[in-house]
Symmetry: C2
Subunit: 354 residues, 2 copies
């Protein structure tokens, strides 16, 4: 029997609460299916670990994670640990260390999900954002010069390699071809004339190999406007690390909220494990109160199953989430319900069992 | 009598159409007021000029502009001239060359203006974004390495000087103190650990001098979400060049559209002339059709008058725009009307004369 061995880093704040529900769903599905089994190994890494050890994860953390079929991550960050330390030492280190260069983030308004936009129907918002996830603005290259003087300055360098741009852009073209949908590249060539002009050139260049794919190019400022005024124009979107970060939070805002936004950090070659996470933060203010919405975390289990070639279960989870939203019986407070975090996994399984 | 000498760069696309209306309004006001006069000198710089001369403006362009009381700019950019050439050679060069380090952009939903957000009332959106406008991500520092090889890469360096950060952040604190409103700094310290951590430190440091000002700090991704979900939480906002660019287009989307978004590029010390512009682009697809909305361009005349110490007229123009929106008699197609661009200036003056 097929077996999936999943590394779990529940992390900080609401991480453990929402991850628990995703695990329930995966385990329940394995039982229903009968064709595969799953086991989870929990790693207590994160800010508490940092306060004890001075590191967000052990020095050989990546070696420990490497044999797993996938990584399931909750959330990282807690007051008292600077964000660039906590995120840089765990989330971003895994993304880069395992060359998870594709960050796949669906922006899809399910039926029953709340939307702050007037005159938008669920089917109007249904895009997939392919975010570059290994370099670009997040390359972590920079300097802090002349500290303590009037000449003090900080330099932050975005690194856009041909290799790095080509592979994410090509991935997006392949996805657009496969799904027979248009592809929009979002950049900022009019002001960032090194990085973004280079990006635009590569986007046009690779496009010549995909004459069947309809393409568009937008400036990031205009794109953020259209996310609000006309989100239906986007199908597959490809963009840089930073722009993808901003646009997918904006995407979450228009498509049901952060409680419904999942993301997959993929190493498509499967040389290293891929990582699946809700894209929300650790929300320390509501941690432990059982009010956090675990649907994003469950949605990322759907993404994990898709990557593990269990496409049918991936789709069934998504429609179970949609059913839950439409029936409105078991929802967390952010969605207007009064259910506890710990009730949601069972509610999803109940729908799947019908 | 006081006299204002304004340099006009109408620029490309719809620039000339929308600028013409702003000039009408300024001239009409000077007549009504009787206490000051205005003259405009037109400079035919932009993409057509570039195609003839190879430059977006003459080499001594800045020297020519320097004696003016203000610069009134339409829009820059036209197909056939790469955006980084046209913008870099005119708009961005003036911003940097005249040390217009404050980009002041009101995001305010006037009564009668369209809003794509459900459940938002005009008074709910009323913020001023103070965007850094001279350095940061737009410093224009970078490199294109190993072209034509597999190792090809582009580097784009953001430059954040203490001087540059301090002055814009201090400006924003002063504004917040003056207006007795809260101040929100928007950055991205969790991922950009050189530039944005430095920004955050300076924001906190200067804050100690302003204990009376209520402050908030937000990550740019979270901020873009809140622009949509809860724009009422923002009063005065201070942010970097790139983030300000993105957030003010998003701001335009939620506050009436690009036809209603104005921006002031200020050199607060008045050592060099400041520049006022609608923040929309040149929209070559609709140029010459008399359908462009000149209200943003007229709003930027309001900003210009405020900077020229004609505060009362600045406010009267804004309320005339609001009256026009509420009465709905003379609006351009983007606002659901059928008026021509060239009718709007007169309509505003008619309201001002009532
Ligand atoms: C936590 C932060 C470093 C991260 C990012 O910016 O990538 C997050 O916002 C995300 O989008 O996954
Ligand atoms: C045209 C472009 C270079 C400019 C910018 O990014 O600053 C514009 O988008 C703006 O916001 O004024």
């Amino acid at each position: 029997m097929k077996h999936f061995n999943i590394a779990v880093i529940a992390g900080d704040g609401i991480g453990p609460e929402v991850i628990a529900e995703g695990k329930k769903v995966f385990s329940g599905i394995a039982e229903m299916d009968g064709g595969f089994s799953v086991s989870f190994e929990d790693f207590p890494w994160g800010c508490e670990y940092y306060l004890k050890t001075g590191e967000m994860m052990p020095t050989d953390g990546l070696d420990i994670l490497k044999p797993f079929d996938a990584i399931y991550l909750g959330a990282v960050g807690y007051p008292g640990v600077p964000d660039h330390v906590s995120l840089g030492g765990l989330l971003l280190q895994i993304r880069r260390g395992f060359d998870e260069y594709i960050n796949l983030r669906p922006v899809r308004l399910l039926k029953g999900a709340p939307c702050p936009l007037a005159n938008v129907l669920p089917d109007d918002i249904n895009m997939i954002v392919v975010r570059e996830n290994s370099e670009g603005e997040y390359a972590n290259v920079g300097a802090h010069l002349y500290p303590g003087t009037e000449r003090e300055m900080a330099l932050q360098t975005g690194v856009f390699s041909r290799h790095g741009c080509e592979r994410v852009i090509r991935y997006a073209y392949e996805l657009a071809r496969l799904e027979k949908r248009s592809l929009t590249s979002i950049s900022k060539g009019n002001a960032l004339r090194y990085s973004m002009v280079f990006w635009d050139e590569i986007f046009a260049e690779i496009g010549r190999e995909y004459p069947d794919v309809e393409t568009h190019s937008l400036l990031v400022d205009a794109a953020s406007m259209f996310f609000v005024k006309d989100p239906g124009r986007f199908e597959i979107v490809v963009t840089s690390n930073l722009f993808g970060d901003i646009l997918t939070d904006l995407g979450a805002a228009i498509a049901g909220g952060m409680g419904l936004a999942a993301g997959a950090n993929l190493n498509p070659e499967r040389k290293y494990p891929s990582m699946f996470e809700p894209i929300h933060g650790s929300a320390p203010d509501i941690a432990g109160q059982e009010t956090a919405n675990p649907l994003a975390s469950i949605w990322s289990i759907s993404q994990m199953l898709e990557f593990l070639h269990e496409q049918e279960w991936a789709e069934r989870i998504l429609s179970a989430i949609e059913t839950l939203l439409v029936e409105r019986r078991t929802l967390t407070p952010d969605l207007g319900g009064s259910a506890k975090t710990s009730e949601i996994g069972a509610a999803i399984l109940e729908i799947l069992e019908r």
